[in-house]
Amino acid sequence: MGLEEKIPDSIILTTVDYVVNWSRKSSMWPFGFGLACCAIEMMSTFASHFDLSRFGMEVMRPSPRQADLMIVAGRVSIKMAPVVKRLYDQMPNPKWVISMGACASCGGIFNNYAILQGVDRIIPVDIYVPGCPPRPEQLIDGIVKLHKKVMTESIKGRTDRQPQRAAT
């Protein structure tokens, strides 16, 4: 919103926080970054059997400038890694990242020269969803946990936006 950087630290906001967080979590627009097999399970989650629009998320924005939540679904190869970083940088604040699947979380079954061992080496991740590929119910569980995490945030700014592990 822009105002939050100007609020001095000595002010506590409770009800404003609640309302802002509630509105952010109720209509989080995903930027479905479907790379490989997990993308197909993500598409199944968006389809009518496991409906994701009950969370307000049926608008899957193809452009990063209009999205809040980046779901990295699939294996990230080292040729694709600069592209992922660039797209993450193009997303406006506030933004969240779900790393879906084993390959995005830790490299999965591919431990070799071509796959980045976990997308958290280049971008900070909020929720990791394991599975190969995770069932739609698992992804929805991850999204619900993310909603709970969003409700505990404060609009004064988030200082933990650093990549978890230094890339080696």
Binding site: I40, E41, H49, S77, V83, F110, P133
Partner: protein, 391 residues
């Protein structure tokens, strides 16, 4: 002062809603007309072929699922058939029928996703929701058979992983009852639709000569009039016992490819019915002591079965030296596995002939001189899966 018309270079980047994954196409444009389209691939390169050289034969099997992730059982089938040929193992009849049945369900699965995403690109957005709803039934069969919705790895060297479950018959009969009605619905929506016909006819034409020159296979080649299907040319896993037709197109444009794939779906249903009706009784694994795991009750009571079980799991089985190329007909084209063995327990070289990569080369021929919207149509009509293109 003379001015030459400059062309514009447009990048359809790796992240794009209509490129079915991470494909990058660089277009040279003169206004709205495309002068050339160059695909750049490799954004999903996983090094599966190199990684498989480091694993035992049965451990490399789950990696093959993840190549063409829309038709996972086809990939498994190709690998398993090649290794069985190198070993010289004959599988029982029930295994052949079960493999054919599940592979044809896989073909249905892949064509349903193709139809949904292709229609979504062209603008018919509700097709995606319909096809994914039908697909849930097939995924229910996969889950009943192996426990996993997509990457089932149900086929093993020498047979199947476990016996078919008890509710298998009912689930497949449900599919056979529901699908013809739904396919009629899809054709009702699309086949005689004026917008669909205008967007697809005369777009992306290929002649038979160009298609064989470019080494295209699968529905792309069959839509130009060349009747080549590996299931009829060199039958594998008992396909010679089934009665089905190969649909062939005439003009080689996108509409013909759509018709060829819809007809292939109907023929797959026909094969599934024949396989279900004629499924024989029998063992679900071949009897090959050093290669195939012995039945569990023997492992718990006999000493040699226990020793074989232990040795196969820890050391793996040795495959005699040699090399073999086995093609199968995957939904995308001719998927071939060329495995070179040097007599040890790990494959020396596993080469996968990727039909999607070789078919993608035809994009430049198909869109030269056409409009940008036709590029999207053509990419959808080639039906690529980036996991297989990049491996």
């Amino acid at each position: 002062m003379t001015t030459a018309a400059k062309t514009m270079t447009l990048n359809m980047g790796p992240q794009h809603p209509a490129t079915h994954g991470v494909l990058r196409v660089v277009l040279e444009l003169d206004g709205e007309t495309v002068l050339s389209a160059t695909p750049y691939v490799g954004y999903l390169h996983t090094g599966i072929e190199k990684n498989a050289e480091d694993k035992l034969y049965y451990k490399a099997l789950p990696m093959t699922d993840r190549m063409d992730y829309l038709a996972p059982m086809s990939n498994n089938l190709g690998y398993v058939l090649t290794v069985e040929k190198l070993l010289g193992i004959e599988v029982p009849e029930k295994v052949k029928f079960a493999r054919v049945l599940l592979t044809e369900l896989t073909r249905l699965n892949s064509h349903l996703v193709w139809l949904g995403t292709h229609a979504l690109d062209i603008g018919a957005m509700s097709m995606l929701l319909y096809t994914f709803r039908e697909r849930e039934m097939i995924l229910g069969v996969y889950e009943a058979v192996s426990g996993q919705r997509m990457m089932s790895t149900y086929f093993r060297v020498g047979g199947l992983a476990w016996d078919l479950p008890l509710d298998f018959d009912e689930r497949v009969k449900e599919i056979l009852k529901v699908f013809p009605v739904k396919m009629h619905e899809y054709e009702d929506l699309l086949s005689n639709n004026r917008i669909w016909i205008k967007r697809l006819t005369d777009v992306g034409n290929l002649t038979a000569q160009e298609a064989t020159d470019l080494s295209l296979t699968g529905p792309l080649l069959r839509s130009t009039g060349v009747k080549y299907d590996v299931r009829k040319a060199r039958p594998y896993s008992g396909y010679e016992k089934f009665d089905f037709d190969i649909p062939v197109g005439k003009n080689g444009d996108c509409y013909d490819r759509y018709l060829v794939r819809m007809e292939e779906m109907r023929q797959s249903l026909r094969i599934v019915k024949q396989a279900l009706d004629g499924m024989p009784e029998g063992p679900y694994k071949a009897h090959a002591p050093g290669v195939v795991l012995p039945p569990k009750k023997d492992v718990l009571s006999q000493m040699e079965a226990l020793i074989f079980h232990f040795k196969i799991i820890t050391e793996g089985f040795k495959v005699p030296a040699g090399s073999y190329y086995h093609p199968i007909e995957s939904p995308k084209g001719e998927l071939g596995y060329y495995i070179v063995s040097d007599g040890s327990t790990k494959p020396y070289r596993m080469r996968v002939r990727p039909p999607s990569l070789i078919n993608l080369k035809a994009l430049n021929t198909m869109v030269t001189g056409r409009l940008i919207a036709d590029v999207i149509t053509c990419i959808g009509s080639i039906d690529i899966v980036l996991g297989e293109v990049d491996r």
